[in-house]
């Protein structure tokens, strides 16, 4: 974190931007991506796609922050966050559907007397 901060500080002068680096947004986007991974987003194609988009945009935002473009980085991180949160929900949906299938399978087995 230290090097990008110094770089950002240097670039602040160069670009004349008054925006501070969006560290909080970066942290929450990374946290959301981590949650998605922990909930099994990589096992479900749609969730996996949005997790990948989130990761790519987080990387992109880090570069923008390093270049001092905090304003653009902030928006990219908002995009990353929306993808990560969607990945979380898609992973939850996948888990809930699997659990529903399992429970319905049990009912079916009970009805057929297995």
């Amino acid at each position: 974190m230290r090097t990008p901060l110094i770089a950002a500080a240097l670039l602040l002068v160069a670009c004349g931007s008054s925006l501070p680096p969006p560290s909080d947004r970066l942290a929450s986007a990374e946290a959301a991506a981590r949650s998605a991974r922990e909930l099994g987003a990589e096992k479900e194609p749609k969730a996996q796609l949005h997790l990948k988009l989130a990761s790519e945009q987080i990387d992109q935002a880090k570069k923008l922050m390093a270049d001092g473009d905090n304003k653009r980085a902030d928006l990219i991180l908002q995009r990353a966050n929306s993808d990560a949160e969607l990945a979380v929900m898609l992973a939850k949906e996948n888990t809930a559907k699997a659990a529903a299938d399992e429970a319905q399978g049990k009912v079916k087995n009970l009805k057929t007397g297995k």
């Binding site: 929306s82 949160e85 529903a100 009970l110």
Partner: protein
Amino acid sequence: MSVRTTLSLVSLSLLTTAVGCGSTLPPKELVDARAAYQSASKGAASQQAPAELHVAKQSLDQAERSFNDEGDAPQTKDYAYIAIRKSQLAEASARALIAQKEKEAAEREAANLTADQLRSAQKELSSTKQHLEKTQDQLAAEKVAREAAEKKAAQALADLQKIAAVKQESRGMVITLSGSVLFPSNESTLLPGAMVKLNEVADALIKGNPDSNITVEGHTDSQGQRQYNMELGKKRADAVRDQLVSRGVAADRIKSVGVGPDRPIADNKTAEGRANNRRVEIIVEPNKH
């Protein structure tokens, strides 16, 4: 939204960033964001995920404001992109909630089915148990009844053996009563003491062999005319039968036969042998049941 569409949206947004503003037409991202919200608000999300749908609406409004203020600027596309994701999230959230409810319903049904099956198994078990207990009770009752009948029969036999000779033969139980005990010489009228004795025999027969057929045979020695002896045997058998019937032995199961001198059991040349031959035999046939 397909993978390809999403990827092309990303690349398109990168491309259009280079072109910059100047167009008054809404960018493709905003058109897509409107459609995504339309789709979400018409679907299950309005019922199942109203909070998420509200967030999606706010996000779309922000994109619309950005388009009004900034036109086709990069952030308009960013806000539109985010609005699409929020609409998708609302829909995914609704689907997850529906799946959750389906799971809970299935679990309740499974629990009910399990409970039903348990109840029916318990019912079956208790009915089997009851049946078993009933069978055991019946067996016990039958055993008691059989033992009582056997005891009664044994007692009746013991009673008979006190008053007469009792033998088991293939034709049945044979009770032999001496002629001199029952009748005066050459007569067929019972002696008073004989009646008492025959009543005891009748009691034993009723108690011990209530279902058996009974034959009373009158036997004589060989002295005198055969015809006379045959008639005497028959009359004596009748007298014994009548006495047994008068004491309660069922008339339809007892018959009398005159055998006369035809089946001696001892030598007719001696006085002792002849006395033994003068006799009445009561034959109790083996029970057919």
